[in-house]
């Protein structure tokens, strides 16, 4: 995976619609605490472990990390639980961005608050435009994702009201910047 300036180039993993938080991180791994460093890494090694048994593996078993730096999904990604373990698992596995057609509210907010994975929204459904393993390039400045094999370019939506929070680097930094809480 290459990440320089405003370009993120990585292999993609393609998931479907309504990928819920139990599929992202099954409940029996919620005994792991994300703020304990070794448990953070463990959570990464279980990312997407709840996908149906027929799905392609997301994690490389030998490294405990994912070869896919970008997740592409359909509607309502991250529905279900408020478990922050979900974006943490994806980020800890080494996946830095999600491009979904839409998100469940709490998951989206947890991505923004933690900065674990950048939650982009695509203007059109991309799950049929990419297949798992394809190389893709996200250009954050232009708001696009490109399929590297043939150069096809797809638009990403503007990030909207949470832009300032992401730009500041998460909820705590943003709140300190605007004086809601004291400088740490």
């Amino acid at each position: 995976m290459n990440q320089k300036n405003n370009i993120l180039r990585a292999k993609v993993y393609v998931a479907g619609d309504n990928i819920d938080t139990d599929q992202i991180i099954p409940a029996h791994y919620l005994n792991l605490v994300p703020t304990i460093p070794e448990e953070y890494a463990k959570l990464g090694s279980y990312a997407m472990a709840g996908l149906p048994s027929t799905a392609l593996p997301f994690i490389d078993e030998t490294t405990g990390r994912t070869p896919y730096g970008i997740m592409i999904a359909g509607r309502n990604f991250g529905c279900g639980s408020s478990r922050e373990h979900a974006p943490v698992a994806i980020g800890a596995a080494g996946c830095k961005a999600i491009v979904a057609e839409s998100y469940a509210r709490i998951f989206f907010r947890n991505c923004v608050a933690t900065g674990e994975a950048y939650p982009y929204e695509s203007e059109t459904l991309l799950t049929s435009e990419f297949k798992t393993g394809d190389e893709a390039e996200i250009n954050t400045e232009e708001g696009t994702i490109t399929r590297v094999s043939d150069g096809a370019v797809f638009k990403l939506k503007e990030i909207g009201a949470v832009g300032p929070v992401i730009a500041a680097g998460g909820m705590f930094k943003y709140a300190r910047e605007i004086g809601i809480i004291k400088q740490g």
Binding site: L30, N31, P34, T35, I36, G80, E84, M171
Partner: protein, 431 residues
């Protein structure tokens, strides 16, 4: 400007004269709820960001109710409760419900109202998506992650976008054998699992007014299953009476303007509703119970914040009285109070517990979230294989109750009990 109940609560809590959907406002939080699964991570964030010696924003505003992984040998689960204990001691928090002691209460979303922590007009945030349950008592309540919760713990504030409101008007009289669960599964079936994303779901109308507080909790609990930010029911005499019976703390109920604009209004006549299920593996996969009557079952499960209240067990007992179950039937009262009510509540002179024992149900489990979300491998009622389960819980995602191969049908306690008797999915009217 005319405002809905949700908008009025957020205006009050943000110190604004008025707010409108789409406004981003800093809101003062009345209650922060956390539990054993997300509490340790929340505390971790709080200490990292505010410092090891920081104090919580308000000792009486932080409620900690361990409930998820309690009756397990899992060592990390016990370690997590120890983290909560130590923090509570260090911060001298008055509202901690410690497992293994008389203070233990069980599932947080019923412990909260039972212990008087839910009051109309207040703002409640919790590290659990089913925090939306508390809208049943006229509060604004929503689920948040650990990072936001750590922020609230130190600051007492949260940045919220004021949601659009979807208003659900439920008219008519509820027929026999229909419960709140049938109403909310029908609504989610109609609008889909993302049909209310970012919105408030406001429930009004004669059929809502007729519901008990417990049944109202069932409705608001599942607002998240349609993606909603919060579910809310305007307070009435029943609400006020319930809350006053549970707390001496003063509160000011907030009511919306009846003619406040909403994004959309859905109107139902509940007299046309029939017993229903959500088929695997999505809460919006609606079918009538009669449509799936050929589905053979391995287990019936009655429990959780959605389906393990005393009213749920009364409904189940009405069906199971003088009958025998033919499949494994697991009963998990949500709280200690409900466990005790299984003994004190009688139908025709027999306690609910006697009725369940006579019907051949499994021994009643101690109160906790148990298999509603699968949990550690030794969790009571967890699926381990390709079981087919009918359950009064709120989610039937792949793997939700443990095994990915299991098939979970969501249903009311009446339908779950009727199905336990026959061994296949059964409309309680056909028993």
């Amino acid at each position: 400007m005319k405002m809905t109940i949700t908008e009025k609560i957020l205006a009050r809590a943000s110190g604004s004269q008025s707010v409108k959907p789409g406004d981003n406002v800093w809101v003062d939080v009345d209650i922060l709820l956390t539990h054993d699964v997300c509490g340790p991570g929340t505390i971790g964030i709080f200490q990292q960001e505010f410092g090891r010696n920081a104090k919580v924003f308000n000792r009486e505003g932080v409620v900690i109710i361990p409930d998820h992984y309690i009756f397990t040998k899992d060592e990390k689960a016990h370690r997590n409760v120890d983290i909560l204990r130590e923090f509570v001691k260090e911060q001298d928090l008055p509202y901690y419900y410690d497992p293994g002691t008389p203070a233990y209460c069980g599932v947080c979303h019923l412990g909260m109202p039972q212990h008087g922590h839910v009051r109309p007009g207040e703002v409640i945030v919790g590290t659990d998506s089913h925090t939306c349950s508390h809208g049943a008592l006229g509060a604004f309540a929503t689920g948040i992650g650990n990072t936001d919760a750590g922020f609230v713990m130190g600051s007492g504030k949260i940045l919220l976008k004021v949601p659009e409101t979807l208003r659900f008007v439920l008219n008519g009289k509820k027929p026999d054998f229909i419960s709140a669960k049938d109403m909310i599964l029908r609504i989610i079936g109609d609008i889909g699992v993302d049909g209310a994303t970012y919105c408030a779901m406001e429930f009004v109308g004669e059929a809502i007014n007729d519901l008990s507080i417990d049944e109202r909790i069932t409705i608001c609990n599942m607002a998240i299953e349609a993606g909603a930010k919060n579910g809310i029911i305007p307070p009435d005499e029943k609400t006020i009476e319930f809350v006053k019976s549970r707390t001496l703390k003063p509160f000011v109920p907030i009511y919306g303007d009846e003619d406040a604009p909403v994004l959309k209004t859905y109107t139902y006549d509940v007299s046309t509703f029939v017993p229903c299920v959500a088929k695997p593996s999505s809460p919006d996969n609606y079918a009538t119970a009669r449509d799936v009557k050929d589905v053979k079952l391995d287990r019936s499960y009655i429990g959780s914040c959605t389906g393990g209240k005393i009213t749920d067990f009364v409904m189940a007992a009405e069906i199971l009285k003088d009958r025998k179950v033919t499949v494994e039937t697991c009963l998990v009262p949500a709280t200690v109070e409900i466990s005790e009510q299984l003994i004190s509540t009688k139908i025709d002179g027999k306690s609910l517990l006697e009725i369940f024992v006579n019907a051949g149900c499994e021994p009643v489990a101690p109160p906790s979230c148990a298999a509603c979300l699968g949990g550690p491998i030794d969790t009571f009622g967890r699926t381990h294989s390709d079981e087919v389960v009918i359950s009064t819980t709120n989610r039937n995602f792949i793997g939700r109750m443990g095994s990915k191969e299991a098939q979970v049908y969501l249903a009311s306690p009446l339908t779950a009990a009727a199905s336990a008797v026959t061994g296949h999915i059964t409309d309680p009217r056909d028993l």
